[in-house]
């Protein structure tokens, strides 16, 4: 944390739900009375490209973009995307990655290879990196779509926002009829 601002970088692949997750986090910060900003480029998100979302909150936030190397928390929805952005982590920051691979079609050209050693490289760089089996947890809860909320739950452990507010916002923003499931998913992640 620098100047009292918390910086969270959420990364993944188009279609994985990065945008909704960052929306929820920013709303939680706002409801807690903090200044909050969120920035992302989503022009190509529907075509399987890289998606990143910057979320910043604190007393007063100016730039919507996190400066290099100042991300207090990085939450990656996919392994190679985690690896792509790991250098943005601040010293002592928290790195959380979903143990999930999405191999891009470009590998079919035979010129590019998916980093099969992603986990090792992540651990070598950030020994304390947290690997989350979000897909397994979601399956146990009975719905593969809960991955995002589980990941938010895991991340919520490393930032100082109230559990009640998280639950209130998730209830408000969850798709119709899924509020209870998402609550469970969040709490499962929060205690993982």
């Amino acid at each position: 944390m620098k100047n009292g601002i918390t910086n969270v970088l959420i990364v993944g692949v188009g279609g994985q739900g990065v945008l909704l997750a960052s929306e929820i986090l920013t709303e939680v910060a706002k409801v807690m009375g903090l200044d909050a900003k969120k920035s992302e480029v989503h022009g190509m998100s529907q075509r399987g490209g890289v998606v990143t979302s910057h979320i910043r909150f604190g007393e007063k936030v100016y730039s919507p973009l996190i400066p290099s190397g100042e991300s207090d928390v990085i939450l990656a929805f996919e392994l190679s995307e985690g690896l792509r952005w790991i250098h943005e982590l601040a010293e002592g920051g928290t790195f959380i990655v979903n143990d999930h691979k999405l191999v891009p079609p470009i590998t079919a050209t035979g010129k590019f290879f998916y980093p099969e050693d992603a986990i090792d490289r992540i651990k070598a760089r950030v020994p304390g990196a947290k690997l989350v089996e979000a897909t397994d947890i979601a399956r146990e809860l009975g719905n593969p779509r809960l991955v995002n909320t589980i990941l938010l739950g895991v991340m919520s452990q490393s930032i100082d926002l109230a559990e009640d507010t998280w639950l209130e916002v998730i209830k408000k923003m969850a798709p119709k009829g899924t509020a209870e499931l998402n609550r469970k998913a969040f709490l499962a992640g929060r205690s993982d």
């Binding site: 909050a36 920035s39 529907q46 290099s68 190397g69 792509r84 470009i106 050209t109 998916y114």
Partner: protein, 592 residues
């Protein structure tokens, strides 16, 4: 009440709150959501429509303004080029009710073909330019823009950028306020731009600019935030936010009005600070004018006109200028990134554009391309688009290259339905008129897909969700004089190849139109998935060549160690293109 809104949402909210009655736009990232938000939330109070292109969007909005409705025309930066003709004379006529042109610029070209700086249009047209620096200002400046427009009888240019459009911040919202305006009042010397009347109006424009300069000196859009006077920074738009974070101790002159500049205020500020800088994204727009006024200032020397600025780049500039200590940067700011494979955007699984491009590749055609999802066909493995300049250019390109007569190979143009309607029709008529013999392909997926699935005059739905008459593309092509207009099913490769072959061999202008809808918009399409029979797959790699995100290399290899293919049943839509290119019959419906 406070809400978390993107710049686009806040701007749309501003149109509602400040008495806007009429909004027209052609979609374009990063501006598109503005009209979608108006149509979704405020359609009882504000009329909203997709125009066929930006020129028409501006013209109808101008009509509404002449007719007494506060109006707004919205477009991405390159859209203003298309609308430049009405703009340059609109500045002479002035407006009726308040009128705003929103230009959404795209520094860093996140989703554009260039990163032009549209503030120059304000100077070019002698109209005021307002530049919000966050979501709250995106809303507030709508009010000020309407007021300036009515007070000075001028259209107002509200210039936002991708970071304003797509960043969310906290916005204080309010209720709708309306302003009464009369309908159109005949005033021939004001509204009819023939030479004699326009000459008089030009003088009015020159005087208006002088009045606006005075306004710029006193408006609170431009404010000084005094601090340490060692460094004074003139800035605006999103750069203001980066500056406040990177240089918290500096004095700042924040320009909310980027044109005309408050030159007296700037001179006063300059006189009080030791080192004066301009921090602005893209071109040295303020810097050139300030230097021309004889004021010593540094800008682009430290803050390049290439790509977006951010806190790092602002810090780096001041470190280089010797005014900031390098230790402000994070200890990991210079950490080496890991090497990771690229993840470029791709045509969706089952996209109907794929079949057409595979057929074109098979025939070894050159493709003058256009702007839309099909432009993604320029990337490997398809690599089937050879040019892409601006919307509508493909048809003229194919004709020009062919008529120049120096290139081997056959050149066909490839254009989408929305782009054809936007600016392809005139090009096609011109080619026919000039006795062209090119083949022109319209990939008609019945939607404007690239920008997120907007309706257009071919889709028979309006932005407000009402059914309407649809343009008949085939009838248009025939009407401009094309004798050979063919429809093909892009999921039938054999048919598509044979029709393309016939038409490209014919010595006459022809049009080939595909007939399959987009897989994503207006609703997702998914048929039974296909699968690879590994025993039959020889790992020839032909299916990889269609560039489908559902096809991947499996762990199974042939005896030369080449990977066999596999298909993801969840994302495969069953379009069958890969099955049609497979020489071994190894790709079959999963059901079997």
């Amino acid at each position: 009440m406070e809400m978390l809104l993107s710049g686009n949402e806040a701007l749309a909210r501003g149109v509602f709150e400040y008495g806007g009655e009429f909004a027209s736009a052609y979609p374009g990232t990063p501006s598109t959501e503005i009209l979608q938000v108006i149509a979704k939330f405020f359609k009882d109070d504000v009329y909203a429509e997709w125009a066929i292109n930006e020129k028409v969007a501006l013209e109808v909005a101008v009509g509404a303004s002449y007719g007494g409705a506060r109006s707004i025309a919205v477009m991405k930066h390159v859209g203003v080029n298309v609308a430049a003709d009405p703009l340059m004379s609109l500045t002479y006529t002035g407006v009726g009710a308040g009128m705003i042109i929103v230009s959404a610029d795209d520094p860093s070209l996140h989703s554009s073909q260039n990163e032009q700086d549209n503030r120059y249009y304000g100077k070019f047209a002698s109209i005021p330019v307002l530049e919000p620096s966050d979501s709250q200002e995106a809303k507030d400046f709508v009010k000020t823009s309407f007021e300036i427009s009515e007070q000075f009888d001028t259209p107002v240019f509200l210039r936002i950028t991708t970071r304003i459009s797509h960043s969310k911040g906290i916005v204080e919202i309010g209720d709708r306020e309306t302003v009464e305006h009369e309908g159109f009042e005949r005033n021939i010397t004001k509204f009819v731009m023939v030479p004699a009347y326009a000459a008089v109006r030009h003088k009015i424009v020159i005087d208006r600019l002088e009045a606006l300069k005075e306004y710029a000196e006193t408006t609170d859009l431009n404010r000084i935030e005094w601090n340490n006077k060692d460094v004074g920074i003139i800035t605006g738009s999103i750069s203001y936010q980066h500056v406040k974070e990177a240089m918290p101790d500096a004095s700042v002159l924040k320009l909310g009005m980027g044109y005309p500049l408050p030159m007296k205020k700037i001179a006063g500020f300059a006189a009080k600070v030791k080192n004066l800088f301009v921090v602005e994204e893209l071109e040295p727009f303020y810097e050139e004018q300030i230097k021309a006024a004889g004021i010593e200032v540094e800008g682009k020397k430290y803050f390049s006109n290439h790509l977006e600025l951010n806190v790092d780049r602002v810090r780096d500039g001041f470190i280089e200028a010797g005014l900031l200590d390098a230790s402000v940067k994070s200890s990991t700011a210079l950490a080496e990134p890991e090497e990771v494979l690229p993840r470029p955007p791709v045509l969706c699984s089952g996209c109907p554009h794929r079949g057409m491009m595979v057929a074109m590749k098979k025939l070894k055609l050159y493709t003058t391309g256009d702007i839309g999802c099909y432009t993604l066909g320029a990337l490997p493995p398809l690599s089937q688009i050879d040019t892409c300049l601006c919307m509508g250019a493909s048809i003229g390109h194919a004709f020009g290259i062919t008529r120049a007569g120096k290139s081997d190979g056959k050149f066909v143009s490839l254009i989408g339905d929305s782009t054809f309607l936007h600016s392809g029709i005139t090009a096609l008529a011109s080619v026919v008129y000039n006795k062209g013999n090119t083949t022109n392909i319209i990939v008609d997926n019945r939607i404007t897909a690239m920008t997120g699935g907007q309706d257009n005059p071919g889709t028979s739905r309006t932005l407000m969700g009402e059914p309407t008459n649809a343009v008949d593309l085939k009838a248009i092509c025939r009407a401009v004089g094309v004798e050979h207009v063919r429809e093909v099913d892009p999921y039938d490769l054999e048919e598509t190849i044979s029709v393309l072959k016939e038409e490209t061999e014919r010595d006459a202008c022809s049009v080939v139109i595909t007939n399959r809808p987009c897989m994503l918009f207006p609703s997702k399409i998914k048929d039974e998935p296909y699968t690879v029979i590994l025993e039959k797959c020889t790992a020839c790699g032909l299916c990889f060549g269609v560039g489908c995100p559902s096809i991947a290399a499996s762990d199974e290899k042939n005896d030369k160690g080449k990977p066999k293919a596999e298909i993801d049943p969840i994302t495969c839509t069953g379009c069958t293109i890969c099955a049609q290119v497979c020489p071994s019959g190894a790709i079959v419906p999963l059901e079997q």
